[in-house]
Amino acid sequence: MLPKENRPIIQVQHFTAAYDGSVVIDDISFEIYRGEVFAILGGSGSGKSTLLKHMIGLYQPAAGHIVIGGKDIVTAEGEERTSILKSIGVTYQMGALFGSMTLLENVRLPLEEYTALPSDAMDLIARMKLKLVGLEPFLDYMPSELSGGMQKRAAIARAMALDPHILFLDEPSAGLDPITSAELDQLILDLARNLAITFVIVTHELSSIYSIADRVIMLDKGVKKIVATGRPQELREHATNPWVRKFLNPGVSAETAGKGAGGER
């Protein structure tokens, strides 16, 4: 494991998110450090995906700031905003590969739009990224010809095209079988350890969390705040909040179940 620097790469400060006036997340603050694999947990409807979408600048928060690499994505505009977006990579729940392009073209796209590299350089870099996720033999396949796990890995390759410092993954193992999911976890670990990429992962796959996450925060739908922060194993053993214990130890007690149920936003 790489030594962690104490400087946070992402700072979320007094962040509040609201849809049509109704508050989803209420005044939360946390920090993510360079090289960390950081997981955002919570039941359905707790606002995990909402938080992620604010962190990558898709939505404007109702209040608060999100500072990435020293720049506030909430207020950044123009060049500054572009430079933040170039320093992050994002993969979405469904992969979101462009269906009309081959894998190579998908990975090449950010390079074509953001760099002045010659065409053969872009091809080489795109191949390197696909190789890294084990998909180089499939570079001229269309996304629809690939399995779900391969699409997820290809999405990671595309997100890494511009060598971002931070990768945001929204439910990376959703819909994958346990073996494929474990392979994806291993890939995330490799990338975090070897390339010192910071990962911010939204998930509710407990096996993934225990095997890859350095630190987690847990959001609760009821109080709309962070109800637990820390290392997943420690929280499992020592969390005081009953819902957190229930979430991290499924099947232990049925008394506190269902508190976080509801629709995903």
């Binding site: 390197m128 180089e136 033999p137």
Partner: protein
Amino acid sequence: MTPVAEAPINSLDARRSSDGGTLTLIMTGRWDSDTTGKWWQRGQQILTQGKPRRLVIDASEVSYCDGAGVAFLIDLQQLQIRIGGDATIQGLQEEFRRLLDIYGRISIEPPPGRRREPLSIIEQVGKGAVELWRDLKSLLTFVGELTVMLLRAARHPSFVRWQDAWLAAEQSGVNALPIIALIGVLLGLILAFQSAIPMRRFGADIFVADLLGIAMLREMGPLITAIILAGRSGSAFAAELGTMKVREEIDALRTMGLEPVRFLVLPRVIAAVAMIPVLTVFANLFGLMGGAIVMRSLGYPLVTYVNQVLSAVTVGDLMGGLLKSFVYGIVVAAVGCLRGLETRTGASAVGQSTTSAVVSGIVLIAIVDGLFAVVFYALGL
């Protein structure tokens, strides 16, 4: 990785050893996706022109290097191997060296991949013919299925989901009135104006009313209404059903033992068929109103125009036009739904179905119109 602060300029210098066998490339500064591009071809050029036996890349002055910089190093190494020499990289900082090690396992040659040979003209014609044949077969099956459903609906009206039919009728009928009125008025106006100019030379401009009345009721009214229906509702049906197909809602209906044709197609076809004659009457009316504006501007009083129209057209003209519009309605709604149900997967599939629904709709309208012309002529109508 991406530059956040202002990047120090990087540079690439070449030095040859005294015996000429060793070429040293000295890289300095920042090598990332923004700054590597300008040196890429220069580096390749130096190597291909110099063709050294030994290449030494001195990277000790490199302050930053990301995937793009590593790709440049790999590219130079690979090029040197292809030239037939050997390459070494010196002085690269430990963290960048690790990056190089990770990516350095890239093979020199790209994997073979699947070559997609372009089809020859004969293959394209054959493929097109097979697709046309399949298309006709599916059209025929669909028409059969729809006919059976319509007959059952006629015998048992409760078989139809009337709530859906009312909704579709509102969307494809009532909501289409403004555009039908606008196009109708404009069409009447243009038709009357264009015919008035030559007819006036013969003192026959009062017969513009005859021309307009017959043309609108028999031909233009039903035709323009059908084309608007194809563009507005045929496309909407295809997009709705196509999206349902992509989201596996149609499969869900099937596995619940419910026929998509009954659930989705029948209400829409009934709605379109019920609405299109009404819309056609509106189009006729607004077309004649457009003609009235022109005739007034030519100096004829309104009553003269109305009497002239009434003496020229018969109930047969109106009914003939409405019969046509009835058939257009079936064709447009059915082909819209069919294209929706045929939607494949992927983001572009719904777009393709929608386009195909409108194009097939308009082509079929033209064919049906031609058939009606022949039949009406043969019957002396």
